[in-house]
């Protein structure tokens, strides 16, 4: 295929890593500013979908296989639910982060750890599910035809 989308490809090659880094910034900065797992997961999925739209679905499936995407989605949900069970095993209520770690009363290490873990679970589930949905749509059209751009 003659590459007449060369500008698009070069620019997006530079931008996609920035989008991914921004997703992680949103993820880990969620305690302090707007954002969190939902937004970060969506931004991460958008970076991957942008890659698929510009470089083709085959390249995208080679980079992030569909089985991996849905596996990540399931892992995220299990991680979130697992944090809840972990609190139960430590003697607390389900999802009571105060029981995750041994600490002085009034300490916030458990809360921070719990929020970090469940936000990671949300990130995994949202990014994986969104990518799975996109693959389900895009997997039916192998290549975007030139007149569709």
């Amino acid at each position: 295929m003659t590459d007449h989308h060369v500008i698009l490809r070069v620019i997006s090659k530079m931008l996609i890593p920035v989008v991914v880094v921004y997703a992680f910034y949103v993820q880990f900065h969620g305690d302090y500013g707007p954002g969190g797992g939902f937004q970060a997961g969506v931004i991460l999925a958008v970076a991957m979908i942008l890659f698929a739209l510009i470089f083709g679905i085959r390249e995208a499936l080679a980079a992030v296989p569909a089985a991996f995407a849905r596996g990540v989605a399931g892992t995220g949900l299990l991680l979130y639910a697992g944090v809840g069970l972990w609190a139960v095993f430590n003697g607390g209520d389900y999802l009571d982060y105060d029981y995750l770690v041994e600490e002085e009363p009034g300490g916030h290490a458990g809360q921070h750890l719990g929020i970090l873990l469940i936000e990671l679970g949300v990130l995994f589930t949202v990014a994986g599910s969104m990518l799975t949905i996109f693959y389900a749509f895009a997997g039916r059209v192998v290549e975007i035809r030139d007149e569709d751009w």
Binding site: L53, L95, A136
Partner: protein, 194 residues
């Protein structure tokens, strides 16, 4: 509310109105998808003007980001233009729309003013969360604390809903691997006009 903020609100709402009318009038699906993305971006800007930064951020990421790309992906499976509809003037439908709109506008009279400290949203649990969040969780962003800690059950349910949605779409449409095995099947794309 000062006059500058009021002007910003009016301008943004006017843009939303214009985009909405354009979406109704335009037949090209690609233009509609792009305008829907623009609509989300403008609403996100408006949410910032309303001091709802977290909502704005979500709207920008979900509405303008993922929805646009997913709609593009879905559009590739169908035709490029919307079906031409017969023009008809249906007085009953128009009447229902006008009456419903009038009732909704009448209902907004009872809504609390923007930023009203005595409104139910700000006076009861909202104030409670703001007072306790530092001692309970030590998380500076109250929205995150409410979402992830106080309302952890809700968020778990939401995550489950998203997971279920992804799996349901994949079960209906396939997991995407078929494009690798079966190659390009242009004959399967019936019913599209180019």
């Amino acid at each position: 509310m000062d006059i500058g903020l009021a002007l910003v609100n009016v301008a943004l709402l006017a843009m939303l109105f214009v985009i909405a009318v354009a979406i109704i009038r335009i037949k090209s699906l690609f233009a509609i998808v792009m305008l829907a993305g623009a609509y989300s971006l403008v609403s996100a800007t408006w949410f910032v003007a309303l001091d709802a930064v977290d909502v704005a951020f979500t709207e920008a990421a979900v509405g303008a980001g993922i929805s646009t790309t997913l709609m593009l992906g879905a559009m590739l499976l169908t035709s490029r233009t919307a079906k031409q509809e017969r023009r008809l003037v249906d007085l009953a439908t128009l009447g229902i729309c006008v009456v419903t709109g009038a009732v909704l506008i009448y209902a907004t009279i009872d809504l609390p003013a923007l930023g009203d400290v005595s409104s139910p949203a700000n006076a009861h649990v909202g104030a409670e969360y703001l007072a306790r969040v530092e001692a309970d969780t030590g998380v500076p962003n109250v929205v995150t604390a409410v979402l992830a800690s106080y309302r952890g059950f809700d968020t778990l349910g939401e995550t489950g809903v998203i997971f279920a949605a992804g799996i349901a779409v994949a079960l209906l449409l396939g997991f995407g691997e078929r494009s690798l095995s079966s190659g390009r099947r242009s004959g399967k794309r019936g019913g599209r006009s180019s």
